[in-house]
């Protein structure tokens, strides 16, 4: 069995699977159940001045029979007094000393308030702190959460205040509701953060009921934007992790969050630069025991790859994530249809003919059987046919030599510049 333990900025955990700060980590009862199931760590539901919630709070987006493809919530931070949470954190840590407990914190942008909550939380033995600069609803209207997290100066200042008082590592949780997350990530680094975590939820409205005309969810006929998470946001989160991981000025560990539903998703985040992952929606959908499959799957994957420690995966794909201008314009793939596997649904032909580059012909072979054939010279290798194909193995995307040396857009622009060329671009 491979070593699944991680060390994120000095925070040790028996495995990389943590529950994210959210409804699943609201109480000691829940976190202890999660640890019994196998979760390596939990980020306690955000502590701060106890709030008032509304009903209803959640909504999900289903797509083509896939329940909870996306998840939206308008629940706020903890509604319980700090003392109650601290007592349960203490008891949980005492019972599970080898599991990781991180306290998520949110207070007003004020030095004294940050100092006070940091000291009180650390007194009960947490392993680290996560500053919630990402919650996009409710708290943001009060100047906290993403309202703070969207202003780099406030991220830096509040991180600095937390670090002034902190003895344990400080993780800064970033909002994706910003044009460039590396800007606020850099601000966290400047403030002295030991790690960053991303992403918090994305501003969203799950839907509108076309019969009642109410928003989904609604609270007595009125709605407000919530935070979107779940599998639908994974590509956005993965991109943001990658952007931070490959930025040389962001040289601190990353805790990956956003739509992670299984061990494969976790591996993707680790490869893109996350040292561990945090999960919420998948646990809310399927329960805490999904972590059993996550641990087993990751363990088998590492064994099959001959990798001794999960930490060896961290960031292995980050260097392969670059800017479009660094991609080889002369690299070429084309579609190849395997007619012995193809079920002749013609979806590839329709997709290509209607919305791509019209390079899949419907033909008959010498025996009169219908076949589909790609005209390679006209194929731009867009992948659309293989994406819409319902049968695995019916369409392969294969590399073919372009006959030209590699050339990136940046190299081309440099050459054009050197040749004093004109461009209206």
């Amino acid at each position: 069995m491979a070593d699944l333990s991680i060390n994120l900025a000095g925070i040790e955990s028996p495995n990389p699977f943590w529950l994210a700060s959210a409804p699943p980590t609201n109480s000691g009862y829940q976190v202890q159940r999660a640890f019994e199931a196998g979760w390596g760590g939990a980020v306690w539901k955000t502590l701060g001045d106890p709030i008032l919630n509304v009903t209803s709070r959640f909504a999900a987006v289903s797509f083509n029979g896939q329940k909870v493809a996306g998840f939206n919530n308008i629940e706020l931070i903890t509604d319980r007094p700090l003392e109650v949470n601290l007592k349960e954190i203490y008891e949980t840590k005492k019972r599970f000393p080898n599991h990781t407990i991180i306290a998520s914190l949110m207070v007003e942008p004020n030095q004294e308030q940050w100092h006070e909550i940091v000291k009180r939380v650390e007194d009960v033995g947490v392993d680290g702190l996560e500053l919630n600069f990402g919650c996009p609803h409710g708290m943001a209207e009060r100047g906290m959460g993403s309202a703070s997290g969207q202003v780099p100066e406030l991220v830096e200042k509040q991180t600095y205040w937390a670090k002034e008082a902190a003895k344990t590592p400080v993780i800064v949780k970033l909002t994706p509701n910003i044009t460039d997350i590396t800007v606020t990530a850099e601000a966290a680094v400047k403030g002295g953060a030991d790690a960053i975590s991303m992403i918090n939820t994305i501003n969203s409205l799950a839907g509108v009921d076309i019969d009642s005309w109410n928003t989904i969810p609604h609270v007595g006929g009125k709605g407000a934007h919530g935070g979107y998470c779940g599998p639908a946001v994974k590509p956005i989160a993965l991109h943001m992790v990658g952007e931070c991981a490959r930025n040389p000025r962001i040289n601190i560990p990353i805790s990956g969050i956003g739509g992670i539903s299984n061990w494969k998703n976790a591996v993707e985040f680790l490869l893109m630069g996350a040292t561990g992952v945090q999960v919420c929606t998948a646990a809310m959908h399927h329960g805490f025991r999904i972590v059993e499959d996550m641990i087993e799957g990751l363990d088998h994957y590492l064994d099959e790859k001959g990798i001794a420690s999960v930490m060896e995966l961290v960031g292995k794909s980050a260097a392969r994530y670059s800017d479009w201008g660094n991609l080889d314009l002369n690299y070429k793939v084309v579609a190849k249809i395997n007619n012995d596997v193809c079920i002749h649904c013609n979806k590839c032909h329709i997709a290509c003919e209607d919305t791509s580059h019209q390079c899949i012909d419907m033909l008959k072979d010498p025996s009169g059987t219908s076949i589909l054939k790609v005209r390679e010279e006209d194929c731009v290798g867009c992948n659309l046919c293989s994406i819409v194909c319902p049968v695995d193995g019916a369409i392969d995307m294969i590399e073919i030599p372009s006959g030209l040396p590699p050339m990136t857009w940046n190299e081309r622009e440099a050459a054009l510049g050197a040749a004093s060329c004109e461009s209206t671009k």
């Binding site: 030209l404 040396p405 050459a415 461009s423």
Partner: protein
Amino acid sequence: MSEYQQFLQERDQIDILLQKGFKIKHITENLSGAFVEFEKRENHDGESDNETLHITTPEARKYFSIIMIKQQTEEA
């Protein structure tokens, strides 16, 4: 004519000029594609011969770019 056939035609036009001793002198890119000016320097009176190709296909734009990079490398 398919875009591929159009590319082959434009590539041939480029190749013919190169075979005649022309070199890429100037490129103008705009909404209409690329206008590639070729120049062939004459030996005796110092005058040069100029030709311009209007390149419309993306593959041909890649093609002349590679030639231009190669030309710059050789001249360096």
